[in-house]
């Protein structure tokens, strides 16, 4: 995951003010964000393949699940359609962090199978990857060997495209601020 991010300031204020003068300018700005997020969403969905990552991973939830296997109870089936449909974009602000920031755009991976595929084997800071010779350990190793380290879907896209997306949105925001300033100048004149 990226360590540094650009914090955009004044999105809400700019749009609220700009709405009074030029609704089309607001729409143009929103379109930039939505397009960037849609592109990221599309890329994330393309990562999901139709076949399960491993042969033992059922395509549907088990009819008579056992507790101890990946086909057992609580282990979600690999339904590519559902996983893709539950990869979505969001512009909800969510909770404000301690550093006074919140989301202005995010990708969500909401399905259970998609979440497992996304983060299985993620190592907490300061810990080591498991070397256990158990089925769980084997599952993580195989998944890592085939699809790379954890953060395999939405986070992979975000890490890859964030800089580009941030730059595009920041440029659009600057443009919106400029348009707002022009309107204010005209109003003052």
């Amino acid at each position: 995951m990226a360590e540094e991010v650009i914090v955009l300031t004044g999105i809400k204020e700019t749009l609220d003010a700009l709405k009074e003068f030029d609704k089309d300018a607001v729409k143009r700005f929103n379109k930039v964000i939505n397009d960037e997020l849609a592109g990221a969403e599309r890329d994330a969905k393309n990562i999901i393949q139709d076949n399960p990552p491993m042969s033992g991973w059922r395509k549907a939830d088990a009819a008579r699940p056992r507790k101890t296997t990946r086909g057992g109870a609580g282990w979600p089936g690999w339904d590519a359609g559902e996983i893709k449909s539950k990869i979505t974009k969001s512009r909800a602000q969510g909770k404000v962090r301690g550093d006074y920031t919140t989301s202005a755009g995010a990708l969500l991976n909401k399905s259970a199978a998609g979440a497992i595929f996304e983060i299985a084997g993620r190592i907490a800071s300061g810990t080591k990857a498991t070397t256990a010779q158990t089925s769980s350990g084997q599952f993580l190793r195989t998944l890592g060997n085939r699809f790379g380290k954890a953060s395999r879907v939405v986070w992979r896209v975000v890490d890859k495209d964030r800089t580009k997306i941030e730059a595009n949105v920041a440029r659009a925001l600057d443009q919106a601020k400029l348009e707002l300033q022009n309107h204010l100048n005209r109003e003052r004149a």
């Binding site: 955009l8 909800a92 969510g94 301690g98 919140t102 979440a115």
Partner: protein
């Protein structure tokens, strides 16, 4: 946003929600201080008095905080002695420990001390209590409950009652609780909640609490410095002032009651008059500021002692003023005035003089005689203001009549003030009074009550009619000095070629 989903934030925006809340708190604090300052200023009317009163407010808060802190410390020390037989060194080290915990976890010491006392009582050991205190703080932070609740649950555990702890820490499984091994249970609790208090201390909320605690500590430190002064004050009040007051009240209770009645009625009149007091204040700003400073000084040094002493001063002031012009009394107050309690009392006698002036003006406004005619003896039986004012008294007439009386009063007051200004400025009066005080002091030093220059009933003066002024302030220490100074002064006049009658030396009698 979806719950349980993997959320990858792409765009991050600044939100002023948290900073707005912090700013709101800071503004609120500022508004409270402003409001207090405004109220103080309104109460006294001048900024000097407001700042003095603000100093009193800080001093009062500091002393209150120190008293509360001292009480809390004494209770904990007593508890430690009773439960563990702790000596002074252990008690001191416990205080140090509590101070450290307060700073580290931003939890106020007034919460920590009762918790420590309870844990020590339950375990019988200061060391064990300190260990459990850390766990209690972590549980309190982790489950967002107050420290007392966490401590109670832990203490219940020491008695073999684990239910409260189980409910408080959900991660504590029933298997662990079933072992009834309290060491194991505490170990598990410790693992589940470790570091919570430290994490909580780093949040904005608790850092702000930390600031508040730090400010409270400063106040307590200031308060501890003031406590010995207060202690002395209490001793003086208990041993000297109260017995003296008892004796004073026993002897003067009737006069005192009458004085209170008069003072209260003056206060009512003055308060009513103050509503339309603008002109008078404008004409006498120096006087008002001076009085405000004196009153502020009294509040700072000790309003209670001043009030008690003032009772006696007021009584004598009323008696003196019966035979003295009110303006001269005010001048005396200022000529001898300062900001100490003693001189402030003198100045308050001046305030009493204003009260009498007010009464006089009412009398004049209603065609009655002046104050000297209302007195009934030099030792002082005070006439009630109601009796003096008759039907115009604001305590016994309708509002219209009162307003009319107030109008007359204000008119009289304004006229009187203007007349005073034309005749002599207040500063001149004060200077004159200071000279008079000096002469009185010289007379006292000379050992005789009066100094006559001349023979028989004749007093010798310069031909121009100017008095021979002998400025001896500060230089006269003996009778000889005084005589020499006077003779030198007369010689000086003679050398100017003005014969003042008779041979000097023969005419000077002491």
């Amino acid at each position: 946003m979806a719950v349980g989903a993997v959320v990858a934030r792409i765009l991050t925006q600044y939100s002023d929600k948290g900073s707005k809340a912090a700013q709101k708190d800071i503004n609120k604090l500022g508004r409270n201080i402003d409001a207090f300052a405004k109220k103080s200023a309104r109460a006294f009317g001048v900024a000097a008095a407001a700042s003095a009163f603000f100093a009193v407010k800080i001093g009062k808060d500091a002393v209150d905080a120190a008293i509360a802190d001292q009480k809390s410390q004494v209770l904990l020390a007593n508890s430690l002695r009773n439960t563990t037989g702790a000596n002074d060194a252990v008690i001191a080290s416990t205080e140090t420990y509590i101070t450290a915990m307060q700073k580290q976890f931003n939890v106020v010491d007034d919460e920590l001390r009762p918790a420590m006392a309870a844990l020590t009582a339950a375990t019988g050991s200061v060391t064990a209590a300190q260990s459990l205190m850390q766990t209690a703080l972590d549980v309190s932070a982790n489950r967002t409950v107050d420290l007392g609740t966490a401590v109670n649950a832990i203490i219940a555990g020491t008695r073999g009652q684990y239910r409260a702890l189980g409910k408080l820490v959900p991660g504590l499984d029933s298997a662990t609780l079933a072992t009834k091994d309290y060491g194991l249970i505490l170990d598990k609790v410790g693992k589940l909640t470790a570091g919570s208090a430290a994490k909580r201390a780093q949040t904005l909320e608790y850092r702000l609490i930390g600031l508040k605690i730090a400010f409270g500590e400063i106040l307590e430190t200031l308060g501890y410095a003031l406590l010995p002064v207060l202690d002395k004050f209490v001793t003086v009040v208990t041993k000297k002032i109260l017995p003296a007051l008892d004796a004073f009240v026993a002897v003067n209770k009737d006069k005192l009651a009458a004085s209170f009645a008069i003072a209260a009625e003056f206060a009512v009149i003055l308060l009513g008059a103050a509503v339309n007091f603008g002109n008078w204040i404008a004409n006498n700003m120096g006087l008002v500021k001076g009085m405000a400073l004196l009153i502020a000084g009294m509040f700072v040094v000790g309003r209670i002692s001043a009030f008690i002493v003032m009772l006696g001063a007021l009584t004598s002031a009323f008696a003196v003023l019966r035979t003295t012009a009110a303006g001269a009394a005010i001048a005396t107050a200022f000529a001898t005035g300062g900001v100490s309690v003693g001189t402030a009392v003198t100045a308050l006698a001046g305030i009493a003089a204003i009260g009498l002036t007010t009464k006089n003006l009412f009398d004049m406004a209603n065609g009655k005689s002046n104050t000297s005619s209302t007195g009934s003896g030099s030792t002082g039986k005070y006439n009630s203001i109601s009796g003096v004012l008759g039907s115009t008294s604001p305590t016994s007439t309708t509002l219209d009549t009162t307003n009319a009386a107030l109008d007359k009063f204000l008119a009289g007051l304004t006229g009187n003030t203007k007349a005073l200004k034309v005749a002599k400025s207040m500063q001149d009066k004060i200077n004159a009074e200071a000279v008079k005080q000096n002469l009185a002091r010289q007379a006292k030093l000379s050992g005789s009550s009066t100094i006559a220059i001349g023979g028989g009933s004749k007093l010798y003066m310069a031909q121009s009619g100017v008095n021979v002024v002998v400025n001896n302030a500060g230089s006269v220490v003996t009778n000889e000095n005084l005589v020499t100074s006077i003779v030198d002064g007369i010689e000086k006049v003679n050398r100017r070629g003005r014969y003042i009658g008779g041979r000097f030396g023969e005419t000077v009698q002491l």
